[in-house]
Point group: none
Chain length 193, copies 2
Amino acid sequence: MKPIKNNRGGVRLGAGRRPGSGLYGEETKVMRVPRSSVSNIKKYLNLSRLNNIDNISLARDEITYNPLVLFEHKVPAGFPSPADDHVEKRLDLNEYLIKKSDATFFVKIKGDSMIDASINDGDIVIIDRSIQAKIGDIVLASVDGNFTIKTLSKHKLKPRLLPANEKYKPIEIDDNTQFELWGVVTGAVRKFK
Amino acid sequence: MKPIKNNRGGVRLGAGRRPGSGLYGEETKVMRVPRSSVSNIKKYLNLSRLNNIDNISLARDEITYNPLVLFEHKVPAGFPSPADDHVEKRLDLNEYLIKKSDATFFVKIKGDSMIDASINDGDIVIIDRSIQAKIGDIVLASVDGNFTIKTLSKHKLKPRLLPANEKYKPIEIDDNTQFELWGVVTGAVRKFK
DNA sequence: CATTTGAATATTGTAACATTAATCAAATAT
DNA sequence: ATATTTGATTAATGTTACAATATTCAAATG
């Protein structure tokens, strides 16, 4: 009888599967959820995993109000100092970009798949889900598992998504297409420094 | 010693807690989810439970709102906040985009000269005067009395302003040119609606 | 007759488990 | 000598098990 050799393997540094090598690249946790929500949660996890959403954050409960001087670009000579009290036009970014903070959330964009809407890697888009999407709005939607920001259109009573760039073709939504509207994109911010 | 009487209860029809008497009024299931999604999922479950929201559908366009978008809503006050290990990210646009509000002002962009830097007509850029401009920075400058936003460059020891659009030519700064740096563009915001 | 008590039963969060997947060096094949 | 196979090792993943809690109801108690 041949002896079974099993001196392969053994305790070795770095052996075995690597932490974070799972589906989500991070630690997981079990949680109890109602049965009817399981499929929605799975869909959400799939979408956020597969696509270019970096993270989703909410508006802070207590939003700051910090209006600063705004110049139109046609500023004439005699450019007034921002410290000048005579400058009448002031702007607050929260006020300017957020209408309903309860219904607003932010999505940090990963990758360049939304570049056709002038939205680049690292940008944060502002999404209001309290707005009923109308034809012509820029919307955040998922189409067959891919997040995209496109202009909502309609064709033969079916939704159609128009890119803001002629390089890309419109996306027709038929009955075989997974399609969900996540909200209306009301703005975008970018940080250079 | 007193004998313990335990002839209370017993097998009785209808005894005990009722099925469906739980938080969600339906059967539950455990599922494994990434740790960073736990708080969002909890929030979503709380809200769909409290608001009795299923899928909101716009029959006309056959568009379905995914109920998970609801997690941008605030958790109602008084609702027991589970002690999450996960620190939830909340965003304040003023804090995110403005470092020194004393030295910051906004300029609304007209024209398409910065379109390659994804700064479009109508965008508002955020300018910090306290930052020392470096080569490569996008800056607000005045050249011969005209304000312009360009990328700062250098050519033969002289500053040069590069537009981010091939249609436009670089602006060379010589000794006869009035030139003043007003600040560094640290961010940009755009409003779609 | 109202209140208390405790067995019965479901919910709920978490631990435990079995299965699958990934990793790497020794063993084997070419 | 180099490539492939093998199997121990370790983590991920889905499910079950379990303990603690909550609810219900009739018997016991006052």
